[in-house]
Subunit: 367 residues, 2 copies
Amino acid sequence: MVLLDKIKNKLRFNYRKKRWPGLIEAYKQYLPVTKKTPIISLNEGNTPLILSELISNLIGNGTKVFLKYDGLNPTGSFKDRGMTMAISKAKEEGREAVICASTGNTSAAAAAYASRGGLKPYVLIPEGFVAQGKLAQALMYGAEIISINGNFDKALEIVRDLSSEHPVELVNSVNPYRIQGQKTAAFEIVDDLGYAPDWLCIPMGNAGNITAYWMGFKEYSKIKKNLKLPIMMGFQSEGSAPLVKNIIVKDPETIATAIRIGNPVNREKAKKVRKESKGDFQSVTDKEIIDAYKILAKEGVFCEPASAASVAGLIKNKNRIQKESTIVCVLTGNGLKDPDCAIKNNDAIFRKNIEPSLKNITKILGY
Amino acid sequence: MVLLDKIKNKLRFNYRKKRWPGLIEAYKQYLPVTKKTPIISLNEGNTPLILSELISNLIGNGTKVFLKYDGLNPTGSFKDRGMTMAISKAKEEGREAVICASTGNTSAAAAAYASRGGLKPYVLIPEGFVAQGKLAQALMYGAEIISINGNFDKALEIVRDLSSEHPVELVNSVNPYRIQGQKTAAFEIVDDLGYAPDWLCIPMGNAGNITAYWMGFKEYSKIKKNLKLPIMMGFQSEGSAPLVKNIIVKDPETIATAIRIGNPVNREKAKKVRKESKGDFQSVTDKEIIDAYKILAKEGVFCEPASAASVAGLIKNKNRIQKESTIVCVLTGNGLKDPDCAIKNNDAIFRKNIEPSLKNITKILGY
């Protein structure tokens, strides 16, 4: 019994049992990998689940709102979860190069993991449509960047055609391994809470992430008895809402560039998620997104505008939420990816060119 | 024995025993907090320890080099570790406002934690010397920013005087709670490895972090029997090396802005660390820093230039390292904090204005 007590004690007090090895190693029994798979990892995943008292109080009625801050992945977005899988499998299959079309987060993740694994990353970007932080990343991580005179859809068309004819692996979200990696975020939420939330609020662009989370919750429910599945709430920007409106949007427009996608690859899968989970797809305006972006920052969580769509959507549904619900809002990317947006959209008091005297500054502080 | 097996099994396979609660809650028995302390946390800490095969191979001789990537803290730097402590204690003491002088990382962390805790953050910055990402953060997190016509030293002088006369808490690194929080990074490294590294390589600005790590290793060695303490290697930029040269540098100059400090607050403490650990202080050039910054990015780890000083320093000491050493390099900040530096300093191939035809792109890829 001494040993038993010792182990119990360890379980109780030590939060860091061992070094987090990255999500493939941690969840390998749930992933399509074998002992032969060369795991290319940056110890991604294991991101914090942050309680937001501010947003919980905004919703009221005993609701607890948690933020799954996936912007703290190694390259600053949830894309790392899928990319560790996609690149590991590409390497296992003997590929020497990978390619993607991207407006940012995918290219950063692809470049980082490919370079780490010794594969050559090619990235097609639409000229002039990539946030500064994301461009900086792709450049640093060693991608060969090809900036085309065309939009994202054109870039995707080219990389799809090219990868079907040549031995370069396509790592856009059509790559099936991406969703496999991404589903681990749902595992982490259940591991952290001990149960699944009542609602999961998530931004939708290509709708790969909502598909992945649902897959994760469902798979875990087979292993963890009595796991009640969440209602899946997907949010899009009003100017880029092909799933909400069930159309193709020719020229999607929104400040939330990471979800500015007019014809989502995972349309049918996402509709199935909505049906199975008794969820809903709704749109939020750019103003609502920016309001939520500011609320989150006041809570100390700086995310991309696209990420804030999940919180903007939650706030809109305030009156539909049952008493004492637990809600998780997924924050997909780090705010540092797009500093321009922050500099243009904030309520800070910024006093410039102040004479540096004690008297002067004391007066400003009102003492 | 069935229960024992069950627990053992859990210890073995489940990496995420429970939700990471932030570093104060996780390590409270080692920190100056009581049950009355209102903990202001963003679930900081628990950052990945990434094995770098590339740098391990560069050093050779069976060396294992790990990167403690503290740029994955909530506001993107190690400052969060100290700030969760400083703000929690300020709140416990009934403060309603905090102030700091900063060129970036401190102001971001101070603003985030203060806002989260309901305290008003004031930030004094030297006009024109703050990287874009860091400025974006302070603005978003809700700081009142006062940009002065003067340098960092002047700003620090004013906030020290002001906080000694008025009820506004100073949260610069002179605040003693900062180091208490920062020491937890050493705990995490020991928890992860099961032992302390042979060398710890770390950038030095104000030298608070090297002091904190040493404090952490020493405190843990009292609890964990047979813990061999590391040799502490502190690195500064050649143009800003007051500790290496044992002087005050009037006009420090380096690309590594986060360690551009001419007269470190923790000078005497750092010298004691060097002596006790049989360590060394050395300088690296801006070119060596940028070379290391690029090597790290090729490994998939994008850090601030200042962070890369630890790796630049390690590389310089290649021939001094004993066979089969374990080395940890501390990466203090996220590369996204300073996108301009990345855009100006990279070796990427960036092809612009490319006509978007399959033929054209195929040719570029060499197929």
